[in-house]
């Protein structure tokens, strides 16, 4: 049994220790928001927060998150209680096909957890691990900056 905290609640999985985290999320926990894109840490579609840091989940086995806090896109927010980033992405219409967006949002959340007031360059650098093929990059950057500004109005 591998136990960890997923989106704030404890889970334990009776799966082989080398099961990739993305597979555990999608196929055993029915959390489909985390996307599979390459399986080689090269596109960022599969990113989740692990103890607040944006990490790839495609190559990481579940035993490496034992006892840790894992947050997926579903844990970031929901339609009824959206995260500031999700609100900003909708406000900016920051997506076309949307396949990369879970990873983008998680990556941005990881950035904002460490840098409340990132420059545009810092946002671009932080998102460089995430590939978008539709060309929605600039809207995504604007959304992240807008969310950062909104979050700064809330006391830390």
């Amino acid at each position: 049994m591998i136990a960890f905290h997923l989106n704030g609640a404890p889970v334990s999985l009776d799966l082989p220790a080398d099961t990739p985290l993305v597979a555990a999320l999608r196929d055993h926990l029915s959390l489909f928001g985390t996307r599979f894109g390459c399986g080689a840490e090269q596109c960022g579609a599969c990113m989740v927060l692990i103890d607040g840091r944006a990490e790839f989940s495609c190559t990481r086995s579940i035993d490496t998150v034992a006892g840790r806090q894992v947050t997926t896109i579903e844990g970031l927010g929901s339609a009824s209680a959206p995260h500031a980033l999700q609100r900003a992405f909708l406000q900016e219409q920051a997506g076309q096909c949307g396949y990369c967006l879970s990873g983008m949002l998680i990556s941005a959340a990881g950035l904002l957890a460490n840098d409340r007031d990132p420059t545009e360059d810092a946002v671009r650098t932080a998102l460089d691990r995430n590939l978008c093929r539709c060309g929605a990059h600039n809207r995504i950057v604007r959304a992240v900056l807008a969310a950062a500004a909104e979050l700064r109005t809330v006391p830390a």
């Binding site: 597979a23 029915s30 399986g39 579609a45 076309q96 967006l101 671009r124 093929r133």
Partner: protein
């Protein structure tokens, strides 16, 4: 379903796809809870088409936009609207839905008027409720609507005047985006059915390789083998992945070298057998005093979707249902039926969204993979997902192209003759178009069908290799020819813009060189050779936009212009690129002015144009499919890099306001002009004509040598 009228030809022509799909109930349904469902045959591929169609329908029906549900297309219930491609969906499907909704509204109102005695002219429709002088007299939901719409669209319907539209023409938020921002299981990849099993295809080790022997199947996996088609089926995704990874290196294949030397690709294009067709021929009546010759090259390019190709297939008592993110579900159904020897009526293809595809990627191929495996596992829903390596290594590619331009000018530098010769493989291998199925695995099964040679769509439909090959400029004499290869070492098909990217690059690069030779400003030189005021307007607009921003000081910066009217008949788009030549070329800014006629969703259209331009930066600067004599080797994101955030330019898009003119579509118009603008900006910065893609530092060093 081909519509209710087999003899549409005898009837008055109706707009868009309604002409061949006349039954109104096929398009519109008034459901419970005051919802309105529309059922277009076009599909969402990330371009926002569902939103634009909902806007059009809401406007014509006079219902609130958020009452609309757009039902994903399926071959058993949706009108056959052909392929979702070529930036035609708003005109084909939007035109049909606008008319169909106007017809539905008229039918309802006439029934209500008759039933209540309230004159038609006195009835208003407010959010779907019919209001007479005395108040509410009915609604779309209180009439027995199924019967009312079970008829062909009448011929005498007048949709609203453009000035009366309230929803179409204004920006609307994408209806599919919230699901994608909240991680809802909306993609095909997220579909799970009871009892579903997961499969992986083990592709041949080389193009054209034949299966020799298969080692023992790993425990927990079922092997499906048919000729050289090989797949493993497991209980879970992880197991399928692991089994395929374990098995693949131990399968023995008979390989042959079927691909040309990559280093000699340009020579291969020159020397490979081809068939020549003329796209334009006008005699030159002025002898040029100068002739400029220039040669352009584009390598094979990949669609490189972020999501992998995926499909689900389920065979139950001889009936096959396939879930697919294909752009052409009806044609896919045809090829799957032919490939499996099933009757057309025994196959249903249901669309479900995948990642953006930007043309004909492996979406259709993976659907056939799933169908083949489902046939071997009757009763079990089979999900197949390609690997990243197969996605980049086996999907159809945009063909490599060679373009040679010879432009003749008179003593004043004005163009008097233009020769434009294109060499390319065909740009179209989509299913449903060939004597045999054009799906990848059809060439791998026992009794294989050879992969059909890619063709080009007809010039009247926008063409393929010759797309945008005929200059829009006044050139005097004109000779435009395509040498279409009759050998196809790598399977080629449609990628955003087809041949337009290379042809526009060629024309616009030569226009700049001619302008320079004539001592003219590039924009002024183009304007002097244009007769179309809409073309002039976008060039003038983009020039003004870019001139508002000061040029950066210092060495290594350059600006360049690119322009085209997409397909010669679609949207006008002019781009100014500002680049910086550092270690590599960096595109700093793009200014874009476009005229797309009437625009349904301005923000959505701008986003499509910006996206196309950013993707074009990636094509221009970074992308080239790599291969050895046996296989594509650029099958990871490391070996097939695409543009990243830190490399994306600032982009400013202006749409010229043309609400009174026919809608032209925006998905593809920016690609060619952007690549051309970057090339011309490189010349402005470095003095070298960038004519071999991609414009890497290494390539530019060769160009300068």
């Amino acid at each position: 379903m081909s519509g209710s009228s087999p003899s549409a030809a005898d009837k008055p022509r109706l707009p868009g796809s309604l002409n061949t799909n006349r039954l109104l109930s096929q398009w519109i349904e008034f459901g419970a809870d005051r919802r309105v469902a529309i059922r277009p045959g076009k599909v969402e591929i990330g371009q926002g088409i569902l939103t634009a169609l909902a806007q059009i329908a809401a406007d014509e029906l006079d219902v609130a936009f958020d009452r609309l549900d757009v039902i994903a297309a399926a071959t058993d219930v949706s009108p056959d609207e052909g392929v979702t491609s070529g930036s035609r969906s708003v005109s084909d499907s939007g035109g049909a839905l606008r008319y169909a909704c106007a017809a539905a509204r008229a039918i309802f109102l006439s029934v209500v008027a008759q039933r209540t005695g309230v004159p038609l002219a006195s009835i208003k429709v407010v959010d779907g409720v019919f209001i007479g002088p005395q108040g509410e007299i009915g609604s779309y939901w209180s009439e027995p609507n199924r019967d009312l719409l079970a008829c062909d669209a009448p011929a005498d319907v007048k949709p609203k005047a453009i000035s009366a539209r309230r929803i179409a023409g204004r920006s609307a938020a994408r209806i599919d985006l919230p699901d994608k921002v909240f991680g809802v299981a909306r993609f095909l990849h997220d579909l799970r059915l009871p009892g579903m099993k997961f499969a992986r295809v083990i592709r041949p080790s080389a193009r054209g390789a034949r299966l020799l022997t298969v080692p023992e199947t790993p425990a927990g996996a079922q092997l499906v083998a048919d000729g050289s088609f090989l797949a493993v089926v497991c209980e879970t995704e992880t197991a399928a992945d692991a089994s395929a990874a374990k098995l693949a290196p131990r399968v023995r294949w008979q390989e042959t070298e079927t691909l040309p030397e990559q280093r000699g690709l340009r020579d291969f294009l020159r020397s490979a057998p081809s068939e020549t067709t003329l796209a334009a021929e006008q005699p030159c009546d002025t002898t040029p005093t100068q002739t400029l010759r220039a040669e352009f090259f584009k390598p094979y390019l990949a669609h490189a979707s972020i999501g992998l190709c995926c499909a689900v297939a389920h065979l139950v008592e001889g009936q096959l249902r396939v879930w697919s993110h294909s752009q052409s579900i009806f044609a896919l159904r045809k090829d799957i039926a032919r490939g499996l020897g099933l009757a057309l009526d025994d196959v249903v293809v249901q669309h479900r969204e995948g990642a953006g595809c930007y043309g004909h990627n492996g979406a259709d191929d993976v659907a056939f993979d799933a169908a083949l495996i489902a046939r071997a596992c009757p009763g079990i829903p089979i999900r197949v997902q390609w690997s990243r390596e197969d996605e980049l290594g086996w999907g159809p590619l945009a063909p490599a192209m060679l373009v040679v331009v010879e432009a003749g000018t008179d003593a004043n530098g004005a163009i008097v003759n233009w020769r434009h010769e294109v060499t390319s493989n065909g740009h179209m291998s989509r299913p449903g178009n060939f004597a045999v199925p054009s799906l990848l695995a059809a060439s791998h099964v026992s009794n294989p069908c050879e992969i059909p040679l890619a063709v080009d769509p007809p010039l009247a439909g926008g063409g393929g290799s010759n797309r945008n090959a005929i200059p829009i400029y006044r050139t005097g004499g004109q000779h435009v020819a395509v040498h279409l290869l009759t050998e196809m070492p790598l399977r080629t098909s449609s990628l955003r813009g087809l041949g337009a990217m290379t042809n526009v690059l060629a024309i616009e690069s030569v226009m700049d060189e001619l302008a320079l030779a004539a001592g003219r400003d590039p924009a002024a030189f183009r304007l002097a050779h244009l007769d179309d005021p809409r073309a002039c307007a976008v060039i003038e607009a983009v020039t003004a936009m870019s001139e508002r921003a000061a040029r950066p000081d210092g060495e290594g910066f350059g600006r360049g212009l690119g322009f085209a009217r997409y397909k010669g008949t679609s949207s006008y788009c002019a781009v100014v690129a500002e680049i910086e030549a550092a270690e590599q070329i960096k595109v700093r800014r793009l200014w874009i002015a476009a005229d797309a006629g009437e625009v349904i969703n301005p923000e959505g259209a701008k986003h499509q144009i910006e996206g196309g331009a950013v993707q074009a930066c990636s094509f221009a600067l970074k992308e080239a499919v790599q291969f050895d004599r046996c296989r594509v080797t650029s099958n990871t994101w490391e070996t097939y890099p695409i543009l990243r955030f830190s490399e994306v330019p600032e982009v400013e898009v202006t749409l010229l306001d043309r609400p009174e003119l026919p809608t032209l579509g925006v998905g593809e118009c920016a690609t060619g002009p952007t690549v051309a603008a970057i090339s011309n900006a490189i010349h402005d910065a470095l003095g070298v004509w960038a004519r071999t893609m991609p414009f890497t530092a290494e390539q530019l060093a060769r160009d300068m040598a």
